[in-house]
Amino acid sequence: MPLRAQVAALVVSLLAAAALPAEPAAEFQFVRLAYPVDRNGPAYRRGSGDMWKTDWPHAEHHLIQGIKRLTRVDVADEGVVLTVMDDALFDYPWLYAVEVGYWHLNQVEADRLREYLLRGGFLVVDDFHGTFEWASFMASMERVFPDRPVREIPESDESLHVLYDLDQRVQIPSIMLLRTGRTWERDGKTPHWRGIYDDDGRLMVAINFNMDIGDAWEHADTPSYPENMTALAYRFGISYIIYAMTH
């Protein structure tokens, strides 16, 4: 393993260990998944072995305040970072992974994530765009669920109505919007709310493709970022949490 990859892995482990309390501090804990990247991929080559840290920690800080204000969920003040192989993974049934166009799960990690999801865990993936990142994301996800299809989440799906009626299918842009004026990145012009379901029709993996909900949380206090996009991102985030805690 190249030195920089070893250093990256060490940083991931240290960060995860430092952020992990002995037991969940509250009923709901925002958990960010620290995943390994593809060593042959572009992120690794440019030295970004910690793509999972994107928007960290401000995105969850803002969202946690929103959860406190808008729901009765007993939420911890701080988020937690975990790897798939952490023993504590199964104590936290909700995961958030960002920039998953660069993640790379080996078969052992994929098997463990599949077990986590089938036991009742929930995964939200976010902030990846375009054909290349989709393919990269699916390369790992197909190791997790080789036979389980990815489907567009229909408007009638309960996950979009559990607290709010989320019938606004608007592309939530990243902060790049302020520099480029574009709501999309790469060739991902059309936003997709996709999902992977279990055998009983329950959503297990919520896939926010061609959008950046995490940026909308992170920049909730950025004056020039559209407030309505942050509000909508809050609603999606909270809906995923409430859905995960009820289904």
Partner: protein
């Protein structure tokens, strides 16, 4: 020796009266005795040189001699009644019921009884007219008792003999003698025993057969709940009668074709009745005939008593649970998931997701619970169970607290409170009107009794006995290697009548975790954790223990809730007692109904009116004759005028094979009872002279007075001689002959 000294048996002195043939009043005898004593005293005082003490001894002896002499002169006689030879009749009764075909030591009981009765008849023939009848034909339509076979299907011994004595009212009946194994199939023998007592004819019983039969196993009782939830485990309690230690194999078949259970029961040497619990489960709805069968052991003659049949109903109705939760949390999610695939239980939940918004799941109608938690009985009572999670009591009104209290005590529903940071004591539930209905005294509000502490859950001794808590594979307990739960909340002190099912050990010690008690018509539970979801997330997806825990626990909760309309059939002797209950929409008793039972059982086939129980409003009773085989159905309908207000249905199994052949162990209880009622006896000796002697002292039948002199009893003469010899010896010693 005593009989010789007294001239007659001691028993004769007990039963006869003592009179004097001399014909003078007893007072004269006392007068003569007094005069004699005075004269003896004067004589001794004036003529004897002995010191006063020695004179008193001599005087006492002489007074005793005088008393005995007067007794002899008065000619005492024993006066009693005795049967007039040739004028009285004794009826010998041969039990020819089927149980008498049982073979003890190579001879059937009926043959043994015939032999003893024949000897008895021969012994009594010189004094009595002896008649032998068979129990199944006491009026002698089939007089040849010697040819009788043991085939009669019943043996109502006391009732038959009472009828026999009554029918011979005009005859000089000195006694009735019955030879039987005592296996009486009659129920309610008190009137028959009273009738026998009034008739004054002694009944003598001779028990034939062994009271302990080592080669026989008998399934004497099987107890099952009348209803069960589909797929839920329930207990059958079986009782095995045995007279030898060993192992019995029990099989349970459903509807004659599906093997539900097969288990071995250890039979201890120290006891003759062994109880065992068999966990069972029925997957399909409907009435199920369960046949419990003991595998015959070596040498077992009577196998009809190895089987019993019972009926369990699995109602087709879906049970409903209302789950009120104050905050989104993982326990809610995983509990619902555990119940998702259970089509028999519908969990309707009301979850407070934001400060002023509820999320509802498992609804029957779009507007169900739209106004929040129910405020009246009409909306709340249809649920069989209510669960309340991490929500403060103040979220409901005092009227709703009262409604919940009545839900348990009046409606007979099941209530469970779950732990949470706003649950149990921290939610103020202990101080609410619901507090008295709870099984524990919850910690006071404000004590912060909820902690996010991992803890290990274990079964109590009581919990180990509950099939509900067997969550492992194939009905095993499955608790030893469960992961720790995520949190724990003190449930407080269990109330005196409460039972603790589970405990939890955390870093702060061991505490009750799951506690229940009966309250009014219903049951309440508290569960001191909201963290059982760790079992689901910490165990492989194939491990079903978390799902089984919740499914089985919730099935127990809903199945123990009282129904609004119910019908029970309970076997009682030779009858089936029906008990129906009809409550109105608010679960109040309805006593002014016309309740009719429709059945196809035997002579009661058709429609039968049931009568209201004057002591228990809302309860209606009826009685059917017991049926022998198969499954029998009864349906009751409650009517007001021509309007039907509801119906209930039940089924029951016949008593298996006929009751007569279910028992093989001879039992003298009924013989003892008849003997006590009639001054008769149970004849222990095979020697028939004992019976003849007892009959000779009987006052029943035609009797004559008998006077037997006892003045010449050797004891009197020897007494006189002995006293005189003693006086002589004393005088010789004192040299005053």
């Amino acid at each position: 020796m005593i009989d010789w000294l007294l001239k007659y048996p001691l028993e004769a002195y007990r039963t006869a009266t003592l009179e004097f043939a001399l014909g003078v009043p007893v007072s004269w005898l006392f007068g003569a005795f007094a005069v004699g004593v005075v004269l003896l005293g004067i004589g001794l005082t004036m003529r004897s040189p002995l010191p006063a003490g020695k004179r008193a001894a001599i005087g006492t002896i002489q007074a005793a001699i005088l008393a005995l002499a007067l007794l002899v002169v008065a000619q005492p006689e024993l006066v009693d009644e005795q049967p007039v030879a040739g004028s009285n009749r004794v009826v010998l009764v041969l039990d020819d019921s089927a149980s008498m075909a049982y073979r003890d030591a190579g001879e059937t009981r009926i043959d043994s009884a015939k032999r003893w009765l024949a000897e008895t008849a021969a012994t009594l023939a010189d004094t009595y007219a002896v008649e032998t009848v068979i129990l199944s034909d006491p009026n002698g339509q089939r007089p040849d008792a010697a040819a009788a076979t043991a085939v009669a299907p019943t043996s109502t011994i006391a009732q038959t003999i009472a009828a026999l004595v009554d029918s011979r009212h005009g005859q000089a009946l000195a006694g009735v003698v019955v030879a039987t194994d005592g296996l009486d199939t009659g129920a309610g023998n008190a009137p028959a025993l009273a009738s026998l007592g009034n008739a004054g004819v002694p009944v003598y019983g001779r028990l034939v057969g062994r009271t302990a039969v080592a080669e026989d196993l008998a399934l004497t009782e099987v107890s099952v709940p009348p209803t069960a939830v589909a797929g839920a485990r329930f207990d059958a309690t079986v009782t095995v009668r045995h007279d030898a230690p060993g192992t019995a194999r029990l099989r349970v078949l459903a509807n004659n074709d599906t093997l539900l259970a097969s288990t071995e029961i250890d039979l201890e040497a120290e006891q003759t009745l062994t109880q065992a619990t068999v966990p069972l489960s029925l997957p399909d709805t409907g009435f199920h005939a369960l046949r419990f069968s003991l595998t015959p052991i070596d040498g077992e003659q009577q196998r009809a008593n190895n089987d019993l049949e019972r009926v369990v109903e699995v109602p087709a109705d879906t049970y409903r649970i209302l789950y009120f939760e104050g905050e989104p949390r993982w326990e809610y999610k995983f509990l619902r998931r555990a119940l998702d695939l259970d089509s028999d239980i519908q969990v309707t939940s009301l979850l407070r997701v934001s400060p002023n918004k509820y999320y509802r799941q498992g609804l029957n109608a779009p507007d169900e619970l739209a106004a929040g938690f129910p405020s009246d009985a009409e909306a709340l009572y249809p649920f069989q169970a209510i669960m309340i999670g991490s929500v403060e009591a103040a979220a409901l009104t005092p009227a709703q607290h009262e409604l919940l209290h009545d839900y348990v005590s009046v409606r007979g529903g099941t209530l469970m409170l779950l732990a949470g940071k706003n649950g149990l004591g921290d939610g103020g539930w202990g101080e609410s009107a619901l507090g008295p209905a709870l099984p524990t005294t919850l910690p006071a509000f404000g004590r912060d009794s909820y902690r996010r502490l991992p803890g290990q859950v274990s079964l109590t001794a009581y919990g180990q006995s509950l099939p509900t808590l067997n969550i492992g594979e194939s009905g095993t307990a499955g608790w030893d290697d469960l992961p720790q739960i995520a949190d724990q909340q003190s449930v407080g002190e269990p109330k005196p009548a409460a039972t603790t099912w589970l405990t939890v050990r955390t870093s702060v010690g061991q505490q009750p975790l799951l506690v229940s008690h009966r309250y009014g018509r219903g049951t309440s539970y508290v569960l001191g954790t909201g963290g059982t979801w760790r079992w689901q997330m910490r165990l492989p997806v194939e491990d079903q223990r978390h799902e089984r825990f919740w499914r089985q626990l919730l099935r127990t909760l809903v199945s123990s809730a009282a129904p609004r309309q119910s019908l029970r059939a309970v076997a009682s002797g030779s009858a089936i007692e029906l008990e129906a209950e009809f409550l109105d929409d608010e679960w109040q008793p309805q006593s002014n109904l016309r309740v009719e039972a429709a059945t196809g059982v035997g002579s009661a086939a058709g429609t039968m009116a049931m009568t209201v129980d004057p002591e228990r409003p809302g309860i209606y009773r009826g009685e059917l004759p017991a049926a022998v085989d198969g499954v029998h159905y009864v349906e009751v309908v409650a009517l007001r005028g021509d309007e039907s207000l509801g119906s209930a249905r039940t089924a029951f199994a016949g008593i298996g094979s006929d009751f007569e052949t279910r028992r093989v162990r001879a039992n003298d209880d009924i013989l003892q009872a008849m003997a006590r009622a009639t001054a008769g006896a149970v004849i222990d000796s095979a020697d028939t002279t004992e019976l003849k002697d007892r009959l000779s002292r009987s006052v029943a039948g035609v009797t004559e007075q008998r006077r037997r002199s006892v003045w010449d009893a050797p004891a009197l003469l020897l007494g006189l001689l002995g006293l005189k010899a003693l006086e002589w010896l004393l005088r010789r010693r004192w040299r005053q002959i």
